[in-house]
Symmetry: C2
DNA sequence: ACCAGGTCTTTTACTCGTAAAAGATGCTCG
DNA sequence: CGAGCATCTTTTACGAGTAAAAGACCTGGT
């Protein structure tokens, strides 16, 4: 997760490697956030996820440890990974990657010009990454840049007409696609997940949250 | 996304790019999964997450669209991104990245020798990535490989004593760290999240789920 | 005015992961 | 038996992201 997103996918902002892109996570560290248990496995039934089996294996190895956190964190990580693969079909059709869409989306939702630095913060990515993406999106005619007259260090980036059309053309399909991915989830579950995740995310964001370079 | 994990983090398996993050998410596509709203924002209070603000912006732009999916998917992506940054402190201290830990963890939890292909499936990463990690972990003396006598195409990988010590030394700290990250989340919320995420993950994994190369 | 220090963006060097091709075996079937 | 195809792993080529340094530009104090 990377941590990239801009919202049709539900929310936040820019990409990440969730990223992760992974980041996914860059050269961070590597705790056990949920290795799957892709191998055969006995249980046939529904409702079995790979994380459950991995947790079972770990408990057998370390009977004394509390594996509770794995069941939440591992699942979030795994869900994010699968969602990012499944989620991006409409974007791919439009010839956009998620980080690119996140950037365009930030401009569209805020409705104003943004500087590269602001875009980096909105999309939770590094300034260097934004520079590269702007170069590509500019070459494709989706964004324009002009210098700020007041402060010549600063650039101001805005969507072109084609850029806005691209976002407006993809967004409905993206939201519909995400809706489809979540279908099959009981209505009750859907209603409960959002607030619970909001609480968790609020806590996580409370801490400074490792600002980007 | 990346999307790498092996469990202490809660779950699933290997990385992803998340990323991989990914992003994160590798070169997938880019729906709006939750661009943050890092900018000022008016609301001061607690319980405000960045995704909420992004959703608000999108709704203002597209009043007719159902932004519900964003509130779940965007938050999952953003949580995964933040968790992967916050989560890996103990691993870093041990000199391991998460993908490396995922690999070692797969060997530890299964308790047997695995082939590179099996490791790739367990850790949800590509075979090429496993090859590279095995080279590094082998050079550090954490894993050993020997040829399978029956089938010389196949390699068999196992933890060395040092490798097992590394996992056993880090795992408790990692779980404790993850527990700390989740503290602050009400006990009720903690109890509800795991089964809800399990249901979602089960659905997501039901589909083939883009097998790795 | 000048200069030390800070801000904003881009560039550079590097790492990591992937996809696709290449190698090396094993297996089946005529 | 051996040709052709499948399987397992590694290699190659490349794209993307990051951190850190470099550039360019403001600003406040003296």
């Amino acid at each position: 997760m990377r941590a990239t997103e801009d919202l049709p996918a539900g929310g936040g902002g820019p990409a990440e490697g969730a990223r992760r892109a992974d980041d996914g996570t860059p050269a961070g560290e590597a705790l056990p956030a949920g290795a799957g248990v892709p191998t055969g496995e006995g249980a046939p039934g529904a409702g079995q996820d790979t994380v459950a089996e991995v947790v079972r294996q770990w408990r057998a190895v370390y009977p004394g440890l509390d594996t509770g956190p794995m069941e939440i964190i591992g699942r979030i990580n795994r869900c994010a990974a699968l969602l990012q693969q499944a989620e991006d079909a409409p974007l791919g059709r439009a010839g956009l990657t998620r980080p690119e869409f996140d950037l365009l989306g930030a401009l569209r939702r805020t409705g104003r010009e943004l500087t590269p630095g602001e875009l980096a913060r909105e999309t939770f990515s590094s300034g260097a990454a934004v520079t590269k993406r702007l170069k590509q999106l500019g070459a494709r005619g989706l964004v324009e840049r002009r210098g700020d007259p007041r402060d010549r260090r600063v650039a101001r980036v805005r969507l072109t007409g084609a850029g806005q059309e691209a976002v407006d053309g993809v967004m409905p399909a993206q939201l519909a696609h995400e809706s489809a991915v979540l279908s099959g989830l009981g209505g009750a579950a859907r209603g409960e997940l959002a607030p619970l995740l909001a609480e968790l995310l609020g806590r996580l964001e409370g801490r400074p949250g490792t600002p980007r370079t």
